[in-house]
């Protein structure tokens, strides 16, 4: 009898899961349900080149391989709830779908600021529609307030500057991108942004948005008031797991999985992408979510094998799943690349090559061992440091 695998979430993780299920020999039915109306597309350009140019689905859509031509896509309708014991989900339009295997790929959504004030003119950047709405408000002379100094906030700041906007970044931390990169590299990147004309007001938060029916400015925690036509809230993300409530899962931070991406204690249910919290034996074995673009591809590959083994349609892979996290960010003409887990080596950061205000390689160490590398430029050095990280799993 033909079996059905249901993929919850029709973005990168969902697409990669469908591809890997087919590549691993699954011939049954695949149904992917997604609450966005769009076929899977690539998010990173939404804060970078696509935001700077024109935000169209065509510009960011993933190509569909022939192998996934027969996947059924149910788009524009969220899954409202799941009954894992019964093996069924209920969609928001009331439809029920039974499955033999389930792939959780519902990713994240942006956190919103609880700050009082008008809602119009306030944006987030996660979806194509978000980026399109923001693009419409950006332009020469627009006064843009970016709240949050992480990667997405800094990328949007850079893109808005390239579009001729007047840009201010407000964030509670002392230097931008501090948590992943550390103080020195964060400060060096701040200097580059400042050279491009971005203003940083750090060590403070927004206490109120000003304006009548549309944002006209903000008041900060230190009393500063500033004018703004556009606000971008880039203050982190929350997991889309509410639809799994009531199944006894650990949903405290994404979906807790074992090292094979099986949702804890549930045969036939796996998770992929941003929402999967899994232990990586390359590091300390603590289960973590990793919001890097490389992760949907890596996790889908293993999760497909695990799921098919659970369904007795294939053999399990006994090797430990130990992906090397890989991340990049483009800001102005800077290419920032991160390999490994810099955050785990935050107490011992060294410049390995180059200098902080030019092209640089920064190493992050734990117990003296290299656990993460961040490069700005220096493409010729990537292979060497990546190989070093691949070779040396920090035996915890």
């Amino acid at each position: 009898m033909s079996r059905r695998i249901l993929i919850a979430g029709a973005s990168m993780g969902g697409l990669r899961a469908a591809e890997r299920l087919r590549a691993s020999g699954f011939m049954g039915e695949i149904v992917a349900v997604g609450d966005e109306i769009h076929m899977p597309y690539n998010r990173p350009p939404l804060s970078k080149e696509a935001l700077a140019a024109e935000v169209t689905h065509e510009a960011v859509a993933f190509r569909l391989r022939p192998a996934v031509a027969d996947v059924t896509w149910r788009l524009g309708v969220p899954i409202a709830s799941a009954d894992l014991d019964a093996g069924a989900v209920r969609l928001a339009d009331g439809a029920e779908l039974a499955y033999d295997g389930l792939v959780v790929a519902t990713g994240m959504r942006p956190r919103r600021l609880p700050t009082p004030g008008p809602a119009r003119g306030r944006h987030v950047v996660r979806t194509l529609d978000d980026a399109r709405a923001l693009r419409g408000d950006l332009g020469p002379g627009a006064r843009v307030l970016v709240v949050g100094a992480g990667f997405i906030g800094c990328e949007v700041a850079a893109t808005a500057r390239l579009l001729g906007a007047d840009v201010t970044v407000v964030a509670p931390e002392a230097v931008p991108m501090r948590r992943p990169l550390g103080d020195d590299l964060g400060a060096a990147l701040q200097r580059r942004h400042e050279r491009h004309g971005v203003r940083f007001l750090l060590g403070r938060t927004v206490s109120a948005f000003l304006g009548a029916d549309r944002v006209a400015g903000a008041e900060l925690s230190d009393g500063t008031r500033l004018d703004a036509d556009v606000v971008v809230e880039a203050v982190g993300s929350a997991s889309n797991t509410e639809w799994l409530d009531g199944n006894g899962l650990d949903l405290s931070d994404g979906v807790l999985c074992d090292n094979a991406l099986r949702v804890e204690g549930r045969a036939g249910v796996v998770a992929v992408g941003d929402v999967a919290r899994f232990p990586n034996p390359r590091y300390d074995g603590v289960a973590r979510r990793v919001e890097h673009w490389s992760i949907p591809t890596d996790t889908a590959k293993r999760a497909a094998v695990t799921l098919l083994a659970d369904l007795a349609l294939g053999a399990a892979d006994p090797a430990p799943f130990a992906p090397l996290p890989t991340f990049w960010s483009d800001q102005y003409d800077l290419r920032i690349q991160s390999f490994g887990a810099p955050a785990l080596g935050a107490d011992d950061i060294r410049v390995l090559d180059g200098d902080l205000d030019g092209e640089v390689v920064v190493g992050y160490h734990d117990g003296g061992a290299l656990v993460g590398v961040v490069l700005i430029g220096l493409p010729s050095a990537v292979a060497r440091y990546r190989a070093e990280l691949m070779r040396a799993p920090a035996a915890a």
């Binding site: 591809e19 890989t326 290419r335 292979a383």
Partner: protein, 62 residues
């Protein structure tokens, strides 16, 4: 198997090189060079390279 990289889109990330070093290389100038007519036995590796290209610049035209 015919491999095409849209060189207007490619930003020389070099991610493809780790998946299929037989097909993709970064030259001394930091630019991508690749073998357009590659052996069929490399299809899996090239598909993986296409997956991991941040700019989604790689296509396989059978």
């Amino acid at each position: 198997m015919k491999v095409v990289v849209d060189m207007d889109v490619c930003k020389d990330h070099g991610q493809c090189v780790f998946s299929a070093p037989e097909v993709f290389q970064i030259n001394e100038n930091g630019r991508l060079v690749y073998v357009a007519e590659s052996d069929e036995s490399l299809r899996d590796a090239v598909e993986e390279a296409a997956d991991v290209c941040p700019l989604q610049a790689i296509t396989i035209e059978d």
